[in-house]
């Protein structure tokens, strides 16, 4: 069978002010009609650049295609002119992007954006009038599972949830019946249950239309069930390629092995850390409500509604839930970073809700927070030294004379080289930045740390390193931690006990392995069922069921 797309020796370089970056260096692959190829690699591996170069979507300059061919149906995509390229884009080859929140134009209705490939088709003969195009769009919206599609046709993107927007993106990509669909991390920004739905949808549509798919992901676990073959990339170079089963079960490549071993999976092996005695935190009947003025009527959002919990000294309590479940708000409520309407938070025997902001100051030292996005939560104008020294000096833990030593000790603690002390956050990678953020959190020698999705923005391999760092620090500094995440595998790996939250209320809680083995509530069962398995055989059966 002739390949639909045959890429040979693709080279894409970025000519930047800091020198030449070989984003893609001599990569070859092919996709047959109806086949799914997964391109897997960490951020910076060149997987997205590879696909963007096929449709001429890279900013030029700095990007430049230095060599290679990409034959699609007998024509070279890399050398064809702009007009010819427009015939491929959205017609023969369509794309779905990572972030459905930003990939749709907020100023145009969803319907208008859907029908554009039809009413502005570069082939004048294949152009359709608005009425016909609208019928076709509504039909597709139904197919991708948008309820009440006729009315939703005139809605704006902000009226849809993330999962629904990604469905719209898929409908938009399919509207001209492409022969090749390129999906760039289509589920990375979505919750695990939504991810499962979108993966199923892509697989279903692919089978019913016999369209070829290139699926880009940083997570081997996600592609196990849908890929026929896999290309593993690292630093612009193809490390390995082969059938999915070969990659998962018979890989010889060290890098692939590292990727596979980094997937958090399997039962927790460590003993329970909880210490006997009075719990460190005891929260009773917390209610945190917000007023939402964005809708047509002001609504009260019950972000946290009547939650009670205890955190024992020394344990890691995992808190899972989908986005909007109120898990972050609960974390902030415990630290009194958001005003709570009702309830008490007792920390080491003192009710924090009764304290004034000024009285809270000495308590702040004893409880810290780690945030999801180390890009956003570190001040870009402060060096590592300044970031780490600030809490030390503010709380009087260090003085001017020994602050350098203490900062160095902290950097050793979180695995940052001392030589980086005078550097700014932008000079570090995502994983290193999260190390700085963790260093800042443990600087005051706190007893409680609330970690809000600390590894969600990181690649799988980095994620594994940071999780091990956190476990190590918890042991060494006798920390108590609340670990908030939407990623159940990560929570299982790290937590002693788990609480499941949904719509601001507690669904169920229990010891990690007990909960995994015997979830009581239907919601928990669904959550656990949605986790993609990093095993092609079982994942395929799971998807087809």
């Amino acid at each position: 069978m002739a390949a639909l797309l045959d890429v040979k020796n693709l080279k894409v370089h970025f000519h930047t002010r800091n020198g030449l970056v070989k984003a893609v260096d001599d990569v070859s692959f092919s996709v047959n009609p109806g086949e799914t190829l997964a391109i897997v690699g960490e951020s910076g591996s060149g997987k997205s650049v590879t696909c963007y170069s096929l449709l001429d979507l890279l900013p030029k300059p700095p990007a430049k295609i230095e060599g290679g061919t990409a034959m699609f149906d007998g024509e070279d995509l890399l050398t064809c002119n702009k007009d010819r390229m427009r015939h491929f884009r959205g017609n023969d080859i369509a794309m779905i992007f990572q972030d459905p929140m930003t990939s749709l134009n907020p100023n145009l209705t969803v319907g208008e954006q859907l029908i554009e490939p039809l009413i502005y088709h570069p082939d004048k003969e294949r152009r359709q009038d608005r009425a016909t195009a609208k019928l076709r769009a509504i039909e597709l919206l139904n197919e991708v599972g948008i309820v009440d599609s006729e009315r939703r046709f005139d809605s704006y993107p902000h009226e849809f949830s993330g999962g629904m927007r990604q469905r719209v993106m898929i409908a938009m990509a399919l509207i001209n019946e492409p022969r090749l669909l390129i999906c760039d991390e289509p589920t990375t920004a979505l919750d695990v249950t939504i991810q499962a739905q979108i993966l199923e949808l892509i697989k279903k549509l692919q089978q019913s239309r016999d369209v070829a798919v290139i699926f880009i992901s940083h997570d081997l676990g996600v592609v196990a069930g849908i890929a026929d073959k896999i290309l593993v990339m690292c630093n612009g170079v193809a490390m390995e390629s082969g059938t999915t089963d070969n990659i998962f079960y018979k890989t010889k490549d060290d890098y692939t092995k590292r990727l596979l071993s980094a997937i958090p999976e399997g039962a927790k092996t460590m003993k329970n850390r909880a210490q006997a005695g009075s719990p460190l935190v005891e929260a009773k009947n917390i209610r945190t409500w917000f007023k939402d003025f964005s809708g047509s009527k002001t609504i009260t959002v019950k972000a946290v509604d009547d939650m009670s919990l205890t955190i024992k000294r020394g344990e890691i309590l995992g808190l899972v839930g989908e986005s909007g479940s109120g898990k972050s708000t609960l974390g902030r409520s415990i630290l009194q970073l958001v005003p709570t309407q009702e309830g008490t938070v007792t920390f080491d025997g003192t009710d924090l809700t009764s304290l004034s902001p000024k009285q809270m100051v000495p308590w702040r030292r004893r409880m810290q927070m780690i945030f999801q996005d180390p890009y956003a939560s570190l001040n870009p104008r402060m060096t590592v030294f300044e970031t780490l020294a600030e809490p030390l000096l503010y709380h009087g833990i260090a003085n001017k004379h020994n602050v350098t030593e203490q900062v160095q000790a902290l950097m050793d603690d979180v695995g940052l080289a001392r030589a980086h002390m005078r550097k700014y956050p932008h000079e570090f990678s995502g994983g290193q930045r999260q190390r700085i953020a963790i260093g800042r959190a443990i600087a005051t020698k706190p007893e409680l740390i609330i970690a809000d999705e600390p590894v969600s923005a990181l690649d799988v391999t980095i994620q594994a390193q940071i999780l091990d760092l956190i476990l190590n620090l918890v042991e060494r500094h006798n920390l108590t931690m609340m670990f908030i995440s939407h990623d159940l595998s990560v929570v299982r790996y790290i937590s002693d006990r788990v609480m499941v939250m949904h719509h601001g209320v507690l669904v169920e809680q229990g010891n990690t392995e007990t909960l995994w083995a015997k979830p009581k509530k239907a919601y928990t069962k669904n959550l656990l069922k949605a986790i993609p398995l990093a095993d092609p055989k079982s994942e395929r059966t799971r998807l087809s069921n």
């Binding site: 491929f88 369509a94 992007f97 972030d99 990939s103 134009n105 100023n107 145009l108 938009m172 964005s294």
Partner: protein, 311 residues
């Protein structure tokens, strides 16, 4: 939208009160008075004049009675144009100034948006540098320099266009409109370049490209609406500024507009005229700011629904 507008209009009341109070205090604390500049007036005549215009009363009484008049829409009589009220004078010049401002605005938007969008399409190339350098010159060039230059080149050397007047010879509105509009065109060019650059780097522009849309549609349909929001926000204050700043151009081209009253009133210590024109311009600025805010809300679907929900 109605409630939004009403709320903003209510906020305008204290603003206007502050403007009136400050201006009132300032003009009265300036040395001299409306009748002290001319040739010596006999003391009894001066007294009679001051009594006629209530200038013999204590300042706070003058202030209160002025406020009372303004609330009823009466800006009082002019001190320097006997027998004519400030309302009449403003009204007589307003039409011309508004027309001049309108044409200048058209010039500014037309040139500015085209230059800004062109520059944003290929940033950091000649296509960007040329219009942006021109914009920089436009901002730096004061209208009292640009006006005579244009007159010299197009009026006297090339003899294409009339050099002065308003509504007398066909084409006599072209040079004043360009002179007044150029500075604003330059600002609009810079704003629209910035706005467009920001929008063009958004993910949804990449989506539009991946859909196979033509570059014309990507710019005109997907990018322009978001990219011009900074320009829209600028239009309100800009239009008010055009009206207030038109006196130089009106003087150069001898246009019977509002601007000359404004300047003359200050020299003449024509208290009511100064106050009247100031209050009038302040009201205009508030109104046009409100209009451009409403336009910006209307351009953003999310804000539009919020406001509609409240109203």
């Amino acid at each position: 939208m109605f409630r939004f507008a009403l709320g903003r209009l209510l906020q305008a009341i204290p603003v206007l009160l502050v403007v009136i109070t400050m201006t009132f205090m300032l003009v009265h604390s300036a040395p001299g008075g409306p009748f002290s500049a001319d040739k010596a007036v006999p003391a009894e005549v001066l007294e009679a004049l001051e009594a006629q215009y209530n200038l013999d009363q204590p300042l706070w009484q003058q202030y209160i009675s002025y406020l009372g008049d303004v609330v009823q829409g009466d800006m009082g009589p002019s001190f320097k144009y006997p027998g004519r009220s400030v309302n009449e004078l403003i009204y007589s010049g307003l039409g011309t100034t508004a027309e001049l401002g309108f044409y200048a605005m058209l010039v500014a938007i037309f040139i500015g948006v085209i230059a800004g969008v062109t520059a944003s399409m290929r940033p950091n190339t000649m296509q960007d540098y040329v219009p942006m350098t021109a914009a920089m010159i436009g901002i730096c060039m004061p209208s009292f320099l640009l006006g005579p230059l244009l007159v010299l080149v197009f009026g006297i050397h090339l003899e294409w266009l009339p050099v002065s007047g308003w509504n007398q010879i066909p084409g006599d509105k072209i040079l004043p409109a360009i002179t007044l509009g150029t500075g604003y065109a330059a600002y609009i060019a810079r704003l629209s370049r910035g706005g467009m650059l920001e929008v063009l780097s958004q993910d949804y522009i990449r989506t539009a490209r991946a859909k196979g849309l033509s570059e014309f549609l990507i710019i005109g349909k997907h990018a322009l609406r978001g990219g011009l929001i900074p320009v829209v926000a600028f239009l309100g204050p800009a239009f008010a500024g055009l009206l207030g700043g038109s006196f130089v151009v009106e003087t150069i081209y001898q246009i019977p507009g509002l601007g000359r009253f404004y300047v003359q009133a200050a020299f003449n210590r024509d208290y009511t005229m100064i106050l009247g024109t100031t209050v009038f311009f302040a009201t205009l600025i508030i109104l046009f700011n409100l209009l451009s805010d409403m336009l910006a809300v209307w351009l953003n679907p999310k804000l539009r629904q919020q406001v509609r929900g409240e109203g």
